[in-house]
Symmetry: C2
Subunit: 419 residues, 2 copies
């Protein structure tokens, strides 16, 4: 017989910010608040790292509709984030024990972790540990990553808003590039270390007649050959004076080396190589070889935090992912991640929510399939466009205050908060 687990709920956020990550938090709160099996709803500050230190806050201020509405389009992790990778239990048992202690203290029986691949790995490891220690809890991973690189889900919450930002920015930069009556190349660099989903989004930048304003797109999945790229550009120039080229930061040559300035060996706190430079590198090479005006533009961090131009569909789906997670947990599921599946054989785009075993997701990566690229592998195919189009649809009514977007800020709800 299925006995309903009663207790408190904890939700936290991890990894890089997105513009939709707080919509998932809204969804978790909304659904958890409805259900009487769940008593208190806590937010964990700065992900698993903060939780380990007992940094939990009561989220009851989210009962207020206005606060929740504001949170929907507030970018970046409202609860703070971390890049803390949980080691194996053998290597750092004290982390696990501290966490168990906190969970016990607050009687946390439902834990929702909103994050990317590393967060799913955390769920996976905690599932094993809590089970071994007979601590009854439901652990659910909620996907979030602008990179769209999680497997077994049609796409990830956060990707649609980034794609919308990139497509809009590419269109605006193309308009800016077209004003002078000269031949030119504009190289636009977008994020994406290993996968080309974000650069693909540039294919959505279209004019009134449906023509793509971006001429060439290079993704990390395809070996980058500079000579071929230069010839591709010359080909475009036969019928267009201002050429727009979009590249992923992570494009690599045939030996697997990043196309970048050789000295760029900086690493971030998580040991990931700090890229940047592919655009600048191409700019320099093309200037020399083509003898025309070449500039490079790096689409900066706003591609993941531009709350002022989010995809309505993304925000709505991200919220639903949170709700689906709570429902799954209350039905007894654990060690799962909520996924989105695109309904097939329907005229219109639609998704349904499901769950998948976290072991099948953590530490896997989803690449852009070859069929989503054109034959020359320098642009997006019709199939790729069909995949992308629905994800950026719709605009949210973003609240503005004194001329700038209004945000909900966690420090306003924490006494004695030090910024």
């Amino acid at each position: 017989m299925f006995v309903m687990l009663k207790g408190n709920c904890l939700v936290a956020q991890s990894g890089g910010p997105t513009a939709a990550i707080n919509a998932t938090l809204c969804g978790v709160f909304k659904k958890a608040f409805e259900r009487e099996e769940i008593q208190k709803i806590y937010g964990g500050l700065n992900g698993i790292e903060g939780i380990r230190e007992g940094k939990l806050i009561d989220l009851s201020f989210l009962e207020d509709d206005g606060n929740r509405q504001l949170l929907l389009t507030t970018p970046a992790s409202f609860l703070g984030s971390c890049r803390y990778k949980l080691k194996s239990c053998e290597d750092k048992r004290e982390d696990y024990e501290k966490l168990l202690e906190v969970f016990r203290k607050y009687d946390i029986r439902y834990f929702f972790y909103i994050g990317g691949n590393d967060s799913m790995d955390t769920i996976k490891k905690l599932s094993v540990f809590f089970k071994q220690n007979d601590y009854e809890i439901k652990l659910i991973g909620l996907p979030k990553t602008i990179d769209n690189d999680l497997v077994l889900t049609d796409h990830t919450p956060g990707f649609g808003s980034s794609a919308k930002y990139i497509a809009s920015a590419v269109k605006e930069i193309a308009a800016d590039s077209a004003v002078y009556d000269i031949d030119s190349v504009t190289v636009i660099e977008v994020m994406g270390r290993n996968t080309g989903w974000l650069s693909m989004a540039a294919a959505l930048a279209r004019d009134k007649k449906g023509n793509c304003v971006c001429d060439l797109i290079y993704t990390p999945e395809i070996v980058f050959d500079y000579d071929k790229c230069r010839e591709d550009i010359k080909e475009v120039q036969k019928h267009k004076r201002q050429v727009i080229v979009v590249i992923s930061e992570g494009i690599k040559d045939k030996d697997g080396r990043y196309i970048e300035n050789a000295e760029a060996t900086d690493q971030d706190m998580f040991g990931h190589a700090q890229l940047g430079g592919a655009g600048k590198y191409l700019e320099n090479m093309l200037k020399k070889d083509l003898g025309i005006k070449v500039r490079s533009v790096e689409i900066n961090v706003l591609q993941r935090c531009a709350g002022h131009i989010v995809s309505k569909r993304d925000i709505e789906e991200s919220e639903s992912v949170g709700e689906a997670g709570v429902e799954a947990a209350l039905e007894g599921e654990s060690g799962k991640m909520v996924t989105m599946k695109r309904k097939e054989n329907t005229c219109h785009y639609d998704v349904y929510f499901a769950t998948e075993d976290i072991n099948k997701i953590a530490n896997y990566e989803k690449n852009v399939p070859e069929t989503y690229l054109n034959e020359a592998k320098n642009h997006v195919s019709a199939l790729g466009l069909q995949y992308l189009r629905p994800l950026i649809e719709g605009e949210m009514e973003v609240p503005f205050e004194e001329g700038i977007p209004a945000h909900l800020c966690v420090k306003d709800f924490i006494e004695g908060y030090r910024a």
Copy 2:
């Protein structure tokens, strides 16, 4: 007796794009179309350079309200632009003669040139030449520049939208910077080679309680002292973990040298020196000196072409500037630039439109006055804020199509157009 000059009208755009430059074009068209003294309304492609080659198009498609509405929020110069600086008549008389020939051919009796300082210089020179050649024409300059550096006008069309973009972007980047529980510095570089108006706009990035999310602002008007900046940052760190610093690209040291990576420690794959800007330079220096996470973000070209987040006030005023220009010309004025004057002694912000002799404007530059900065000259004063606030107010309903902003594109109205 005042005899009304009858004939055709020509409007053109010049200099760097802005997100509001087409609103002024709308204003010119709207008012010129109303008045019967003006017969045909032409647009000159690529500014004075295209006009010299006879590249004029009939703008009657702007009689359509839908087209004009779309044009209002289309960024970058719809008619194309140029960076062509008209030499003196002694140095390049053929330019002047070619222009006169085109103006005669199309019977242009009203010319409106939308641009910055160089465009005002063009108006100034053409005024003299046309007068010498007894060609009766009214020449009016219409200001446009995100830099806000034209004299005798309270502000320039285009500045408000850039300021709104920068303030919003700084707020979003600050949200992104705040997610990790670590000490960090984010250096945000904005445009402005000689003046600090754009970096001042960062002071408008405020939280719900009215606190500025940006801690320090450095403008080119004030000598930049790196040691002082580092100490300013340390001071902020005493009460705030994630410090946000905004700088103009044009900050200079006491000897007037730009702050940039002159040392060129970065190299590309071929050992070529990579020059970085002020932001990158500060990032490197602070990393070394503070030993904490430091990153720099360059607010890219979107600060001048983000049509998706424009200031309603800026768009409306920009349109009015175009209308005021036509009215002034029809009242017989020439060799003037339209200016905006802020009404004093009123409770609410309001402007009126006037004209000023172009000779008093062309080739002058307006700096940020000291009173607009705080005492330490590392932020904006209350007076500065009072000046800025109204300029970013209000949001336009930007039309979206298939998830991205819709634009009006000139090539759709030119037969046989080669992109």
